[in-house]
Symmetry: none
Subunit: 407 residues, 2 copies
């Protein structure tokens, strides 16, 4: 059973709106095990829509279309599918009642009436959140699911009325697990499990690269959710064995979320002293709702003076080694930890560019230091590529991955 | 001249990512007057991609494709187009240099080398922000523009390298100017210029809503760039007259950029004291490359204790009014300004959620305060909607728009 997703509307072809419906429907179809090999966007134009329908039914059994159910003459999705299937349009009683109740306190423009005309013999999908009903046409082993464009109308209609019907057509259930890695590059990680990836058919393994992190999505298909889950296990286990030191979490877990969770678990608190990252490190920690349990205080020490009065960095060392140096990074981390009375102090200092580089200190040179109570402070020298924001973002992610290893 | 947009990648068909590239490219093509009648998404599969290319060239002259240029065997967009056009792949020297410089401090996995192999006779598009070069193939009146998938790589490549080439194929020149407003809502702003928007055909006026800001894009079409620019002027002037107090900049200018520019111009310095925004305010300022001229110091004061020892907030007031209060916001702003010896001190304190609300202090309650040397400190009470990050982002933007008015 193969489906093709249609997004109908000139506004999509002009780039005026982002096609969020198509993403939603694709996710849902993947979850119930219906394959999607193509998505097509086409304008509000009868000839071009008819051509696209024709092409789609050569390669798929179901077309799920969104958009073009409005009250104006421009909107012609339903009319065009009716023409393709050679059906008349007839008023659907329940949809008409729904339309009337929608306008019960208002004048109803006559043009809205076309929104409740349905192709003869189709299943009408009454719209709980708008005036345009959708419909399902089934004929000659071809199915058309026709949905309204606004996500507020389309998504509940799909969820409540369409999904239960589509589920009858599939015997597969797909279950996925995402393993999230940091501290290793995508190509490097893929190289290590090249053979495993090639030989894995069910479950499959797909790699995705993020901001200084890699995600492997393992997807199994079974007759039931339980069967699919069982099928996942051995491959997930293998990946854990191979990438144990790099995997920081699964699925919705974020890198900063993993850090905060581990700090809470270990009963630790943290403070930050940032120069080049300028608050981005703290901001990412505080993004995690439970951050208030572990994050107490932070300083963004941008001027040399403030490194002295905020963090007790030695003025002499600032002059001798410069603000971007191992010595200063270490003193910043220790300074913030002592001042804030936390278990951990973490610091960043570097040259994020585009200006500010010197002969021996190029853009991308960053030092990070982590001071843990009772342990020797660890400092890392980084050479990062990218623009100002990229260098700052990479620095933050490297802080998190190093922190995870140390606590 | 008709174009078709291709998005290649199984992750799009599985609904894992939102296709923002396609929207961007559609907008840009509309701007330079190239028609788009279809968009197609297809997975990383040679046979299906070949079929889609075949269909597309029956209805369009140009295919612009994004995605599938990664280093793994999964990524086969360039290879498949090369096959379609019957071209060998050969290493592009400049791309190879770019790749080597990208990995100059790191081990380069061998698989990356395929990212700089280009179809013979094509124009290579060197990637300034990644390792995969794109390319343009021109043959038998068919053009293929092949771009990488990550928006950070795809968009600058299209903007700088592809657009100038595509512009040769169209006789229209479109010129746009974006006017950026803060302190007024989208529907409000649109209502004010409703008639002007309806009556404007060349130039057109299109509104876009952003994060607590509004952008009006004015676009004129002419035979030459100069003609289009002249056509823009009267409408832009009208908008300046109407929205003078709300317009903070044009085109690439950001709200934080406007703040930093104005601070530099007025010879002012700034420091930040953040609670709920947790470093996001400072981080946004420091995002501006010239920020080091004005930003000296910041504190992320998350615990009550640190509000006392870092910012001199009165312990009695913290107990009496709570950390989220006008009194504490004002003391934070004044405390950081005095400590950092800056012209301006700015503070945030609020409840970003999802937890932490009390009976009289709901999620979304935020106080911001701005203390300017020699002036009375200004405090604003905000009631914001959205999730944790949204509330924090809105707070930061409101800080900036208030700052702009006060300096």
């Amino acid at each position: 059973m193969k489906a093709e997703i249609f997004s109908v509307g000139t506004e999509i072809l002009l780039g005026e709106i982002l096609d969020t419906n198509a993403k939603y429907i694709a996710t849902e179809l993947a979850n119930i095990g219906i394959d999607v090999f193509y998505k097509t966007s086409v304008g509000d134009n009868e000839k071009r829509l008819l051509d696209a329908i024709d092409i789609a039914y050569k390669r798929a059994d179901i077309i799920i279309s969104t958009g073009g159910l409005g009250p104006t003459d421009d909107d012609l999705t339903k009319e065009t599918f009716a023409k393709y299937f050679n059906k008349n349009l007839v008023t659907d009683k329940e949809s008409l009642e729904n339309l009337k109740s929608y306008y019960k306190n208002d004048y109803m423009p006559k043009s809205n009436l076309k929104q409740v005309d349905m192709p003869e013999g189709s299943i009408a999908l009454v719209n709980e959140n708008g005036t345009a009903s959708g419909c399902i046409i089934q004929e000659n082993n071809k199915i058309a699911v026709i949905l309204p464009g606004p996500p507020k109308e389309c998504i509940p209609m799909f969820e409540k009325q369409v999904k239960p019907i589509l589920q009858q057509y599939t015997s597969k259930v797909l279950v996925s697990k995402n393993l999230k890695l940091c501290g290793i590059g995508e190509s490097n990680a893929c190289e290590i499990i090249k053979d495993l990836m090639l030989s894995s058919q069910n479950p499959t393994i797909a790699p995705y690269a993020g901001n200084n992190e890699v995600r492997f999505r393992v997807t199994a298909s079974g007759k039931t959710k339980e069967e699919a889950k069982e099928l996942l296990k051995p491959t997930v286990e293998k990946l854990y064995n191979i990438f144990n030191e790099y995997i920081y979490g699964e699925d919705e877990q974020t890198l900063q979320g993993a850090v905060v969770d581990k700090l809470i678990k270990n009963n630790m608190t943290i403070s930050t002293a940032e120069s080049c990252t300028g608050g981005l490190l703290a901001s990412n920690i505080i993004d995690v709702p439970s951050a208030s349990k572990v994050f107490l205080n932070g300083v963004i020490s941008y001027s040399n003076e403030s490194k002295v009065y905020e963090l007790n960095v030695w003025k002499e060392d600032l002059e001798k080694y410069g603000a971007v140096s191992e010595q200063v990074a270490i003193q910043m981390a220790e300074g913030i930890r002592e001042k804030s009375n936390t278990t951990i102090g973490i610091s960043t200092t570097g040259i994020a560019g585009p200006t500010g580089e010197t002969e021996d200190k190029p853009v991308g040179l960053v030092y990070i230091a982590i001071s843990i109570k009772g342990k020797e402070t660890v400092c890392k020298k980084l050479m990062l590529q990218g623009d100002r924001l990229k260098i700052r973002e990479k620095t933050v992610n490297i802080c998190f991955s190093n922190l995870l290893k140390l606590i």
